[in-house]
Subunit: 231 residues, 2 copies
């Protein structure tokens, strides 16, 4: 029997990557007279990777990386108003509506009474905004917003909450952030792929008895029943 | 007897505002051909206030507000390379060294054995970097990085940790963030002013028996002894 069942938020409970992709397309269009869209995207991803250790995850770091990419790609020729447009694109992202993924509300209702945790990463203020806007906060016994999802950061959450790793299940759309680190510390990881996943979140599927993959979050309650030997 | 003694971090344990002030001066110098320094600073503060609800606290939001201010102040005439320079200034801030304030290490040694919490706000990744770089993490039973410090956010921390507000003491350099909200929920607030405090953190001193002011953090252990009736 699992003591705690944890869920990722972005692209597990609600849409997220789609807003990034739309902004990336707008960004490439803005720079279309300087470079073709594939090059713009490649340079943006490279800048994001370079900045990850200083900015962490989230929209503000993404905005700063777009500005930096635009300057570097145009060798400083980009004008102030175009950069102002980039800032506006990012500010729009920071107020985007929260669209729940299909099946989420029903799954949370089915798991009512279990010790549910929401474990996400990124900007504190943006994640808190989305959690509030989702209307889902009441389903969770606890919310953890981490700077990054690593074996150490999961271990720290479990230690603080006195949860045994072998009785901990985490489900999410990122193999790298939601599944691998949890299996590494002795927990159960459930991979629920999303159509869109950021390139920096990709990782090879696991070969491990603690690894499970589902096509949709709606299948999670049945998997939990199976793993707990109730079916 | 206090169950938990909590300390703020920026400008309570280590220097912070001084790095902002130095960058503000560099920013004003960069824009000196467009406007005088006082106007640049006033516009920057106004932009920061306008952006606070979307960006929250921290250096990344400050960087984005500098970029936006530069564009608005020059009506888009600022060039890409100057904006690149603003990004670099911010990136330098994100890697600034952590300078402990005088008396901090001794106070923490004196309070050894007490249940100490570090409660700060701002960017997750930047605060975690500074906590690690400070070498002080081992003194604290817990660390809380909040999006904002309000009566509700303190109440949530205390509820989660099962600490009674009337047995909770919080000390820090911000009347608005460290003192007022704690007194509001029934705790004890200790104001330790710093020479530099961000204008958005100012508030009127409290008239309350739960309010105390110290000239330096070094006086904190003696105040705690007094409040606990041991001297």
């Amino acid at each position: 029997m699992f003591e705690a069942i944890a869920l990722d938020a972005d692209d597990t409970l609600w849409e997220n990557e789609t807003f990034f992709r739309a902004t990336e397309a707008d960004f490439a269009a803005l720079l279309s007279e300087h470079a073709d869209p594939d090059l713009v995207n490649a340079r943006l991803v490279a800048t994001e990777m370079r900045n990850l250790s200083r900015y962490g995850f989230g929209i503000k770091g993404f905005m700063l990386s777009m500005v930096q990419t635009a300057i570097e790609l145009t060798e400083g020729r980009i004008d102030g108003n175009s950069i102002g447009r980039i800032i506006e694109m990012g500010q729009d992202m920071l107020s985007h509506p929260v669209h729940l993924l299909e099946g989420v509300e029903q799954v949370l209702a089915t798991l009512e009474g279990r010790h549910l945790l929401l474990i996400t990463k990124g900007d504190l203020i943006d994640q808190e905004r989305k959690i509030a806007a989702s209307g889902l906060a009441g389903h969770f016994a606890g919310v953890e917003i981490l700077a990054d999802k690593t074996p150490a950061s999961y271990a720290s959450v479990l230690a603080r909450r006195a949860i045994a790793p072998e009785r901990f299940l985490m489900a999410g759309n990122s193999m790298k952030s939601d599944v691998m680190p949890v299996i590494r510390i002795g927990g159960t990881g459930v991979f629920i792929p999303h159509d869109l996943t950021w390139s920096l979140e990709h990782a090879e599927p696991q070969q491990d008895e603690s690894y499970h993959e589902l096509a949709a979050i709606a299948q999670l309650p049945v998997l939990i029943d199976e793993l707990e030997g109730r079916s």
